[in-house]
């Protein structure tokens, strides 16, 4: 079985090099940066970001963008905690959260594609509505927490038998393989790249844009909701704004991983490595003892610098 080598060109190698370089820098500058605990912590954080970025990768390849991811993360986080706290069985909680997320996502995709409205506006509006409704429902003070097995699954100190890693890490690796196969080896994946690369050609190839956009945005919202529930296990209690950092981080992971925001080009493997690189940057900056506000500022500067290295758009003259 061969994967699409074209999609795994330079950017992925670049992202790997940067992640390695950042890790080396951290190990030299900061004591204990490469200690088992710190590496496990970074892996868990990167895995959470990687889950949240699955949807962003798919949506950007189809030629859209999903700004509702941070809101859906917060929405799923709070709804899951609240329902669990009210004694609803966790399986039922997952079904309810999944159904609601799929519904919001499908509405995002259907509205954008059917009415040809920019997805940035639609997802922003739908995300705002979802978060507002949850705030009204919980009156701004969400309660409840995740069941213990979810917390164990994502806990930094967790282990699976002899392997000193929480279940989340192998699960995300398995998920990454599934997503890569979905994108590279299935009709869905081919249609995804076709639509993002050239919508008109895709139309002549009888690809249905509205169905594809609806499916893809629904998937995006579902993975965001999954990240929200995992974050609930990670932080222990519900927090409506838990997803806010993920707006910039998912976009940055996708772009650092070499996926073009113009659509039609990219890979999930790149996003995965982008998520690792971003987690390295974050940990390094915090480890250097910067104030949270300066960490934020430095993160912005570093990401612009990174994208400058290899994530730039081609010059207009090459597109004619």
């Amino acid at each position: 079985m061969t994967l699409d080598l074209n999609a795994l060109r330079r950017p992925v190698v670049g992202a790997i090099a940067i992640a390695a370089l950042l890790h080396a820098t951290g190990s030299v500058l900061i004591d204990g940066y490469s200690s088992p605990f710190s590496i496990r912590a970074m892996l868990v954080l990167a895995a959470l970001l990687a889950v949240a970025s699955i949807g962003q990768t798919l949506v950007i390849i189809i030629g859209g963008i999903d700004l509702s991811i941070p809101f859906i993360i917060g929405f799923a986080n709070v709804v899951a905690a609240q329902l669990t706290g009210e004694g609803v069985d966790f399986v039922v909680v997952c079904l309810i959260v999944s159904a609601l997320a799929l519904l919001i996502g499908a509405a995002n995709g259907a509205l954008s594609a059917w009415l040809k409205i920019h997805p940035l506006i639609v997802t922003l509006g739908m995300g705002t509505i979802a978060q507002g409704l949850v705030l009204i429902w919980t009156r701004g003070f969400p309660s409840g927490s995740a069941p213990a097995f979810v917390s164990d699954f994502v806990s930094i100190g967790g282990s699976m038998g002899p392997i000193p890693l929480p279940g989340l890490i192998p699960a995300v690796i398995a998920l990454a393989i599934v997503i890569t196969l979905l994108m590279g080896r299935t009709p869905y994946g081919r249609k995804l790249f076709a639509l993002g690369g050239n919508p008109l050609a895709a139309h002549y190839a009888l690809i249905k844009p509205i169905a594809m956009w609806t499916t893809t945005f629904a998937l995006s919202a579902w993975f965001a909701a999954l990240a929200g529930v995992l974050l609930l296990g990670f932080t222990g209690s519900a927090y409506g704004d838990v997803g806010q950092p993920y707006l910039f981080q998912t976009l940055a992971a996708v772009v650092v991983g070499g996926t073009s925001l113009l659509g039609g080009r990219g890979s999930y493997l790149g996003t995965l490595i982008g998520a690792v690189a971003l987690t390295e940057i974050n940990t390094l900056l915090i480890g250097l003892g910067l104030q949270p506000s300066m960490v934020q500022a430095a993160l912005g500067a570093v990401i612009i610098g990174l994208v400058c290295l290899y994530g730039r758009e081609p010059h207009l003259r090459t597109t004619i």
Binding site: G125, Q131, L261, A297, C308
Partner: protein, 310 residues
């Protein structure tokens, strides 16, 4: 022109309805004698929406999401640095300083988005993080005070910042650069082949966005009367919503500042109606989202239905 007019129609209709509703509910607040203060309340959002427009008109994903944080940054630098530390309070220096600071940040955004060709949303989200971080570092908590003339920019002279942006834009439209920007926005490849310097046109649009955001920061400072690190960033989403409501195409090349202003007034008047009924900020948030989606969906939906019945 007619195309952008028709897509702004939903915004105009909403404006008329909201205006009538507001005047009916709250005649004293909307009486001519209190127009100064009323415009002062609306001015920061209005200016933020106007400021966000030029970068979007340039097309190919052109957008500046750092407008809100830039307003907050200008606010922090003016109140704590210029007025607080250097004790410079004359409008002849403070106003140009605000514009220059905004234009400088706009230039940096333009260099990374147009010249270095980093995807604009990434470049300006980076600027968003940098500006928010710097602002919180300069001003950890609300502080400072402002001179009397600056305060009057949210009272009697609240129209001045809006007028300033309007006149600057009107002047800009007289230059060939305006036509080149619109050409780049509607079809950059065609414009490039026709000899338009697309990169320069886009660079200028970001500088204009930055300079206008500087004026918006001035108007924000006049309204809140101090340096506050938390207010600025909230304007980004409201400004982009305003633009969408006002029928400015996010794909570029269509619409103008008038549409953005209508959208911003819609949002302000909606806010005003809902606060009259004393609803919680949560309901306000749902209402924003719902109106935004409904308004942007209404005009294409209408076209679809008309096309089907014809």
């Amino acid at each position: 022109m007619s195309k952008s007019l028709s897509s702004a129609l939903a915004g105009v209709a909403l404006l008329v309805v909201l205006l009538i509703l507001n005047i009916w509910l709250n005649p004293t607040r909307f009486a001519p004698s209190s127009w100064g203060a009323l415009i002062g309340l609306a001015a920061p959002l209005l200016c933020a929406a106007l400021a966000s427009t030029p970068a979007i008109l340039g097309g190919r994903g052109g957008i500046d999401v750092s407008v809100g944080p830039l307003m907050g940054f200008v606010n922090a630098v003016l109140v704590t640095g210029l007025i607080g530390r250097l004790d410079i309070t004359t409008p002849l220096l403070v106003i140009p300083a605000a514009v220059a600071l905004g234009a400088a940040v706009g230039l940096v955004n333009g260099l990374s988005a147009a010249v270095l060709r980093i995807q604009p949303i990434i470049a300006t989200l980076g600027a968003y993080l940098i500006l928010t971080g710097l602002t919180v570092t300069i001003v950890p908590a609300p502080t400072g005070s402002i001179p009397e003339w600056l305060r009057s920019l949210s009272q009697v002279y609240s129209f001045v910042p809006i007028l300033l942006i309007g006149l600057a834009w009107a002047a800009f439209t007289r230059f060939p650069a305006y036509g080149q920007l619109m050409a780049a926005g509607s079809d950059d490849r065609a414009a490039f082949t026709a000899g338009v310097n697309v990169t320069a046109a886009r660079l200028i649009s970001y500088v204009l966005t930055g300079a206008f955001a500087g004026v918006a920061g001035l108007s924000l400072t006049a309204l809140i009367g101090s340096a506050d690190p938390n207010v600025g960033p909230t304007y980004t989403l409201l400004a982009i919503s305003s633009i969408a409501l006002g029928g400015v195409s996010l794909a570029g090349g269509r619409g103008g500042l008038a549409g953005a202003a209508i959208g911003a007034l819609d949002i302000f008047l909606l806010q005003s109606v809902l606060t009259f009924f004393n609803v919680s900020t949560f309901v306000l948030q749902v209402a924003y989202g719902a109106v935004l989606v409904a308004a942007v969906a209404s005009s294409p939906l209408q076209e679809r239905l008309l096309a089907r019945s014809a």
